[in-house]
């Protein structure tokens, strides 16, 4: 332990009082966990919690928007949407005929694309467009709409959804525990023989999602702009929502190729938490997921972001009230400094005793709100340590930036023992509070397994964190939170129009 005697004593007391309680030490928790890997490489983590007859499932696919092919930004997200469209047996009235009709759509689309490329006359294009529309209508006539979702909902499924992030895609929901087998059936079917039906309508839905999340919000647009400035090469420069033109030109076979490449058993980890019998789960896993053919895991992104050497500054005019983001380059989650950066972000912005709250919000009243995030937008590859400020009415971006920079300088030179201890206590207690949710556990444990090779990291990280000293925090702040690795992004309001 590198801690001084005083703070070390405090830490030891708190640690013992928390860690010795039953139910949340690693050794106790371990007894509730069963892990196994199928011969095809698919890994399962089961967590037994028998308090209530319910089970939560999380399928963690180790592929996200960083894996989008060039000029196909948003494709991982599009793929996620297609995973709800059913299979060869779910969502169809007649699969053989529907299959032919789906091929007909692609054929008609190919003809249209070719004619456009050639610069054919309007009449030809219009005829081909009608042909495409008719092909789609034909295929639609075989569809049982949203059948996959209906099965989940009528069986009492709760929280059905999925999310595509930069690093990974998660599929999740919960069932009453007597319907575990139904989950095995549905989840294995959608990754064994999915059908990407209604693709082009769903493409419009995905386009709408981007309009809602990004284009209609100053924050969405600013983050997009900030990432484009901070990353010049690495795919973190694009958000999972993708670029509008890319989305509008997606073709179904491209999405299917993405599925074939990335949705392979060796690239999937499944977490199941709740009222489960591990033996029965294993039997069902083999029966249903054993059918997925083994394939090599896809490669990691090879692109390396060049070292940033000067500060980058970008701004965006927007009607909404101003916001400020400052982002510093930092290494990926496997770096030994990873946890120290977590602690630094907590000291800066975790709760009412944090520096940013006390200085920016409470004392100087520069900010309505302020925060920090130790990893953004993902953490699998070198990423960003983020600080953001929402200025108070009448306070400026300049004032917000100045006040934030002062605090970042402060943590390079001084960390109070009390500040550090509060953060450690909070992170320790935070772990306990994370243990009472099935869906939270299913998600957390699969993440730790994929990121670090073992779910146990969620617990052992707490012990590692105890070893972090004030000197460590100052060292990483000096190393990473420097001007030449910084991107500053902000919004400003247009000047009022003359004569109005």
């Amino acid at each position: 332990m590198k801690l001084g005697s005083w703070s070390g004593l405090v830490a030891a007391c708190l640690l013992s009082s928390i860690a010795l309680l039953p139910g949340q030490s690693l050794s106790d928790f371990e007894k509730t966990v069963t892990e196994f890997t199928l011969p095809n490489g698919l890994h399962f983590i089961l967590i037994e919690r028998h308090q209530a007859p319910v089970v939560s499932f999380n399928t963690y696919v180790n592929a996200g928007s960083v894996d989008d092919p060039p000029h196909k930004t948003g494709l991982a997200h599009m793929m996620e949407h297609m995973a709800f469209k059913g299979t060869e047996t779910i969502g169809t009235r007649n699969w053989p005929l529907e299959k032919k009709a789906l091929a007909g759509i692609e054929h008609a689309y190919d003809l249209l694309d070719a004619a456009r490329a050639k610069g054919s006359d309007e009449k030809t294009i219009a005829t081909l467009q009608t042909g495409l529309k008719e092909a789609m209508e034909k295929a639609d006539s075989y569809v049982v709409p949203n059948e996959y979702d209906k099965i989940v909902e009528e069986n009492g499924g709760a929280g059905l959804n999925a999310g595509t992030a930069e690093d990974a895609t998660n599929y999740y929901y919960s069932f009453p525990s007597n319907r575990i087998e139904l989950w095995f059936l549905l989840e294995s079917e959608r990754f064994l023989r999915p059908v990407f039906r209604e693709f082009y309508k769903e493409r419009d839905v995905v386009r709408e999602e981007r309009r809602m999340r990004v284009e209609s919000s100053a924050q969405g647009l600013l983050v997009e702009k900030m990432l484009l400035a901070a990353f010049t090469e690495h795919p973190y420069r694009y958000t999972p929502g993708g670029i509008a033109e890319d989305i509008e030109n997606f073709r179904m076979p491209e999405a299917f190729a993405f599925f074939k490449r990335y949705y392979v058993p060796a690239n999937i980890t499944i977490g199941i938490a709740g009222d489960v019998d591990p033996k029965e789960c294993r039997r069902l896993a083999e029966k249903y997921f054993g059918r997925l053919p083994a394939k090599p895991a896809p490669p990691r992104v090879a692109t390396v972001e060049p070292v940033q050497t000067t500060e980058r500054r970008v701004s965006l005019e927007h009607q909404e009230q101003p916001i400020l983001i400052m982002a510093y380059k930092r290494p990926d989650h496997s770096d030994p400094d990873d946890l120290v950066l977590d602690v630094a972000s907590e000291i800066l912005a975790g709760g009412r005793t944090s520096l940013m709250y006390r200085e920016l919000v409470r004392d100087q009243k520069v900010a309505l709100a302020a925060g920090a995030q130790s990893s953004f937008p993902g953490d699998k590859y070198p990423n960003l340590f983020l600080v953001y400020v929402v200025p108070n009415m009448g306070r400026t971006i300049e004032q917000s930036e100045k006040a934030s920079l002062d605090l970042i300088e402060r943590i390079k030179t001084r960390i109070e023992p009390g500040e550090l201890e509060r953060v450690k206590t909070k992170l320790r207690a935070g772990l306990i509070r994370r243990l009472d949710s099935n869906s939270g556990l299913a998600g957390d444990l699969t993440y730790y397994h994929v990121a670090f090779g073992t779910w146990k990291r969620m617990f052992t990280d707490i012990g590692e964190m105890e070893k972090i000293s004030g000197a460590d925090v100052m060292r990483v702040a000096k190393k990473y939170l420097v001007a030449e690795h910084r991107t500053v992004a902000w919004t400003y309001q247009p000047k009022p129009k003359e004569g109005k």
């Binding site: 709760a158 059905l160 009453p176 249903y288 059918r291 009230q321 108070n392 009472d436």
Partner: protein
Amino acid sequence: MRRALLLSLTIFAAGLFAQKVPDYKALKYPPLRQVAPPVPISFTLPNGIRVFMLEDHELPLISGSALVRTGNLFDPRDKKGLADLTGSIMRSGGTHAKSGDEIDDDLESIAASVESSIGESSGGVSFNCLKENADHVLGIFKDVLTNPEFRKDKVELAKTQALSGISRRNDDAGGIAAREFANMIYGRDTPWGWTIEYDDINRIHREDMVAFHKRYFFPKNVILSVYGDFSAAEMRAKLERLLGTWNAVEPEVPPFPPVEKVWHPGIWLGERDDVTQTFFEIGHLGGLLNDPEYPALEVAGDILGSGFSSRLVEKVRTQLGYAYAISASWGAGYRSPGGFEISGSTKSATTTDTIRVIREEVEKMRTAEVTPDELRIAKDAVLNSFVFSFDRPSKTLNRLVVYAYFGYPADFLNQYQKAVDKVTAADVLRVAKERFHPEEFTIVAVGNPKAFGTMPLSELKVPVNKLDLTIPPPSPETPPATAAVVAGLESKEKGLAILGRAQVAMGGLDHLRAVKDLDTSTDIKFQMGSSMASGKQHALRIFPDVLRQDQELPFGKVDVYSDGKTGWILSPQGVTALTPPVAQQIRQEMFRNMISLAISNTVPGRTVNAIDDNTVEITNSEGDKARVAMDPATGLPSKISYMTTPIRGAPVQVVETYTAWKAVNEVMLPFEYEIEQAGKKFAEGKITSYRINSGLKLEDLSKKP
């Protein structure tokens, strides 16, 4: 060759495997393991706090909350936002013992929390901690609940933040739509639908929060719940020691103001030229949770627009690709109606068509029965997911507390489940017909109409109104004095300050002065001999002098007209000109009208003097006098007293007490009153309608019937 063979064998084996997997329809489910829901312990402390407790030893945590019957529905009209500020500063402003910052340090060093807040129809204080810190954290919890200090620095901080919040309220287009829709359907002039402005926040001071807290935070008004890793007996003893000495007593808190059911059909368009989507909210008031039709309405709402398998998702999202987000629900509240609300967002060009399709889908719900499949899926979704209402013991405790708070039976959820099971397709059609009113829909759309393209909103054949999203800038004048400031002033200044407070409470001097005429219909009861008689009164006033009053009394009709100087009276005895004493009485009656008195500082010849911290005496140039006493809590004029001389007999004191204040246009007016003469109840009135500025004309008023 060998390799190829092996490969084909693998494929064959995979094929065999595939055949063993059943169709989902063939799966058989074992009965769900039944877990008896935990039974919380409940009791009442001697001081009146109702307590619910539930042990759960899974994790070493204890949490709890004090639920208090209060809410921003009790915000004074001129200090909207008071409840919210009070709720947040109870905690941030510290207690007698510790400043808020000291509490922050204290709690965060043990990873615990104590938080306070006041929402629309409830408020309270909650805590969460590791069990070994329970005693310490409970002490802070109690202090925040019973003894908040509202330190000035935190009052200022919270006000600054509230003002910033107002300045940012139009940032999020979806947020604008949701807010404006709710304000429209509940009524913008009511506590349910009004908007907090800069002036409101600027008028709020520490004293207001102290008074608000005192009024609502007392033991009989609190339901306490405690959950987690403790022994119930020990916790009970602990709570008795901790809270037993809290003896604050206040009058029972009145019911929340009722929601007036008024339709607001039409389209309201909020313009934002920087968005590519239109955010919309469509619907009208919903109903109550304990409405016998609620289960059928819930099923109808689900089939229409809840979840991926609903009609709106299928049509608008899946078939048309118009929207990512689209949903509908029959909103129901415990004690007041929720909103029947269809919401979502679509690209600008498909705005009008999306709204058209939505109305069509609602219409379909009202014209044909839902299919057996739709009904089964919607019901099964509710019935099969029922177990998630019990998946954590804390949910059972929380539900029980909420039911107790709103006066619902403890088994309400089970009743609801049984009722859902019985819903038929005919029920769904019937309630959709009776309770969905697409012709009355309030449609709020926030987006860029320039990009709506070939289909403007006018194609929907519903009047399109523009939403005014302007945020009124703060008024330059000094904010009206608070009760405490008033107490320190000299009589005349003080009188004007008290009156100023009343003007603000009644909607502001500008609005009061804008009242040119007033049409009041009243049901009256009055003492006639030894019994009460009733009658109807219809008074038409043109300020400042003209009054026409028609009365239907047990002994016949009595109509009076006066223009301030001359007039006539029509009674069963016939028509006569006003005698001077009667003319004087009518002039005095006009002087003592609530609105006339309220604007006294702007009427030449009148003086306003303070009698005490809440009462003024107003005198006019004719020497008429009236005393007006304001309600200390609301600032509204609650009593008007004066001397009057009956036709026969000695002068007597009259006291008029006004209650049931409600907004009429921009002005607050009383809807009930009582009149005492010489200390005895003489009459009471219930106003059945007020009409402000309906354009009354002198020649109509003076016309004899």
